[in-house]
Symmetry: C2
Subunit: 479 residues, 2 copies
């Protein structure tokens, strides 16, 4: 059947506002966030209700039309971009972006999966609660995408990843079956917890249409400090000390090398308020919802203890909101600084926290022996064992060509090193299309077999985001 016939059928189901087939408007959906790949599609579907999602999927399955769910299109792994066959169709839940219910006493919020993360954060804050998921793309990423990628971000050390914040789900399988489990319960041991399957599934098992999210008391006090690291300071031991003595009120432990801080500084106007130590710097933040705790006293006591170890050269406690903002701005400007330079080849590596220093040492040696001229930008959520180990694209070099070269050579050596330490090639960014070969290279055989069983159970015909993560067990027939 021709694609125009399909478009007409989808328009019958979803209405005029539910189907975009104008090539210019389509083009805003077909390139991934990092602009590494442009796919092709004949339409973008925008269902407005869960029932429409189910009808749409049944129709797609009937005609074996591949579906690529897309949230805010902020994936770093090409997980929301169709292939270049032109036969897959994009589904966006941007018309399903409502807050369904907020229960301040149960500390939960029920939302459409198309809700933008920042809107969820703001709705929670309005009633004195916090939705703790926080990441660079929060102004445009959507909850469905956060669930599909098990998004991490800046507060994982305290509050966990998206998985840890998910209480309930509503999702539609590729045959139109609606799984409805929109409960706001902390505890519900009644068989397999189906929502866990969708977390991190990157749209390959079905379309998440709704979610119940866990909220926590809104921190009303914060203490923020900038720690200039001494050369050779043991990051993991410093983290242990800070976690323990902060009584787990630690919400941020962000490590930055001097090079990353310099890049960030270049991207900012005016001189930086703080600088790196010879071993880099750590941004530390404590947060508390209690009026009865003096967090600055606590931070001062913890910093005094840390300075005594000799691991930090100096520490600055933010004395005002603007000092705090300036410290955060440095951390947040790093990706911008990389972009201004000529971009970077990103490695979203995670290792056991006890192996962070070892990884840094081994990886630096590998980079130097690969090419002594390469420059690095290394920073990350060390509180979770997560390093963004990025190789800067040299100025005036073709970014795509350089990326391909590094990813097929040096990157594999870095991932090998992470794997040898019990680590992983993707801490929080996911697999998508770009890292599928890495999953094959590093994934345990039994684990991948189990993953393929799950894919087969939910989407045997490989309709849902085919080519991301894994394929079903049986050979797929031609679409």
């Amino acid at each position: 059947m021709s694609q125009s016939v399909h478009v007409r059928a989808f328009r019958n189901l979803l209405g005029d506002g539910g189907v975009v087939d104008d090539p210019e408007r389509i083009a805003t959906y077909t390139t991934d966030q990092r602009q590494l790949f442009t796919g092709s599609t004949f339409a973008v579907l925008k269902p407005a209700t869960t029932e429409q999602v189910a009808d749409m999927l049944r129709l797609a399955a009937h005609h074996r039309i591949g579906i690529v769910p897309q949230g805010g299109n902020t994936s770093y792994c090409g997980g929301a971009t169709p292939d270049d066959s032109g036969r897959q169709i994009i589904v966006s839940l941007e018309r399903m972006d409502k807050i369904r219910e907020l229960d301040p006493i149960a500390m939960s919020i029920s939302v459409d999966a198309g809700a933008i993360l920042k809107n969820v954060q703001e709705a929670a804050a309005a009633v004195g609660l916090l939705f703790p998921l926080s990441l660079g793309a929060e102004g445009s990423c959507r909850i469905g995408g956060n669930i599909g990628t098990n998004a991490g971000g800046l507060s994982v050390v305290r509050y966990g990843m998206t998985r840890d914040l998910l209480l309930g789900i509503e999702a539609v399988l590729s045959d139109g079956t609606v799984v409805s489990d929109m409960r706001k319960l902390r505890k519900n041991n009644t068989g397999y917890d189906i929502k866990q399957c969708f977390v991190g599934s990157e749209g390959t098992l079905g379309i998440v249409t709704g979610a119940v999210l866990r909220l926590v008391p809104l921190p009303t006090r914060r203490a923020t400090a900038w720690l200039k690291l001494a050369s050779g300071a043991p990051l993991a031991e410093l983290l242990s000390l800070v976690r323990r003595e902060s009584a787990d009120l630690l919400t941020t432990f962000e490590f930055m090398t001097a090079r990353s801080i310099a890049l960030a500084t270049e991207a900012m106007t005016g001189p930086p308020s703080v600088r790196a130590g010879s071993g880099g710097a750590v941004l530390v933040e404590f947060a508390s919802s209690s009026r009865h705790l003096d967090l600055e006293d606590l931070m001062e006591a913890v910093l005094a203890e840390a300075i005594e170890t000799g691991w930090i050269e100096d520490a600055f406690l933010a004395q005002s909101g603007s000092q705090r903002t300036a410290m955060w701005r440095l951390r947040e400007a790093i990706p911008e600084g990389e972009k201004r330079r000529n971009g970077s080849v990103k490695h979203d590596i995670s290792v056991p926290i006890s192996c962070i220093q070892r990884f840094l040492d081994l990886a630096d040696t590998q980079v130097r022996s690969y090419d002594t001229d390469l420059e690095l930008s290394v920073y990350g959520h060390v509180g979770d064992g997560n390093l963004h180990y990025n190789v800067l694209v040299p100025p005036a070099v073709d970014r795509m060509e350089f990326t391909k070269r590094i990813e097929s050579s040096l990157s594999l050596k870095l991932y090998d090193t992470a794997a040898a330490l019990g680590g992983t090639f993707s801490a929080e960014h996911g697999v998508g299309r770009f890292k599928k070969h890495l999953l094959e290279r590093y994934g345990d055989v039994g684990r991948i077999a189990a993953m393929r069983r799950i894919k087969t159970a939910f989407d045997p015909a490989d309709i849902m985001n085919a080519d991301a993560i894994v394929c079903p067990l049986v050979e797929k027939s031609a679409r």
Copy 2:
């Protein structure tokens, strides 16, 4: 083939110590913890290695011998007890009970699934860390069982359930496939998180043989208080206040009715150190690993605020370890008190925290209209919305007969009420055999369909703990 031939074959695989077929020794495995059901088996298998588990499962699958994994046999739902056909075989990992590795800096512990919970707690404490899972059966339950049932317990409000404490897993599927994902990573977004499937699966998808568990800094300071509740005090609002003002240092918020406290008192020697208020009592505890926080000051400030609301009649802050122990002893003696009386019919209910009071009011009316002479013991982990709503078996009444009568009448009304409030019939105890009909009654159709797809994907022949939770999609052939 005869069962003695099977026993010989298993003995060949597992050695003499790996097979128990003496009826007297078998009898210690075939009755459930609550002594509600006695099943039958021809052997108990005790593999000593993961490879033996795989060999054993391949042999069992080949001969279509049903397998019932059993941890410490402390299930409240009959999930570890074979049926009475005599054709299922029990598997115990009691010979696989080692701590494999403890990494204090990564704050993780790797264990055999047969490790006893208390031994894991003690190993962590020996290096200044806490494994936060804590429950009545901790001296005999095993980690594999905790994972299989997603065990909750006394510290969920702060640290979450077993699912939240699991970093890595090793498991064997019914066809002998070993899934090995024993990583100690906080973040690892590399496809479907297979370990989540096993959490709460009650042995129906495979046998968990190893686990990596998350540890947290060991609290070195605690503040414990006993709150006498005023009549009609809003529990959920009190919890909100205490959570917020404790800065999330709250580890315990255990509610007890006056009747439960009286039962506990009867089970203890000597007079109780604290008593119930007219609305019952709440045991509250804060814990911190920091030397720089005065938790008693914090508790006093929070209690002063709580008293001002009028919701509590009085509050006692434990002034010594023995006062703290006495408060805890009252909470912990409740099940014992129920047993001394003549036992109870247990309802492990969870509702959204905002609906706790409404559930208590509605349920009490239902109980009174069912039989005005019935007595209740109601208590629970209200910090998680979890109530143990137990109907006492009247003295000199047959416990089994009474239980069956209540469970087929009043219990359903109570569960209906919980369900109408968005709650559940099983907060932390699981489904097992005893609550399978409840899953059918209350489970969302789409969710159950998805559960059956997962069961089918992992165990199509229904070898693993058949009759617990759900059956596969296809008709099972005769075994």
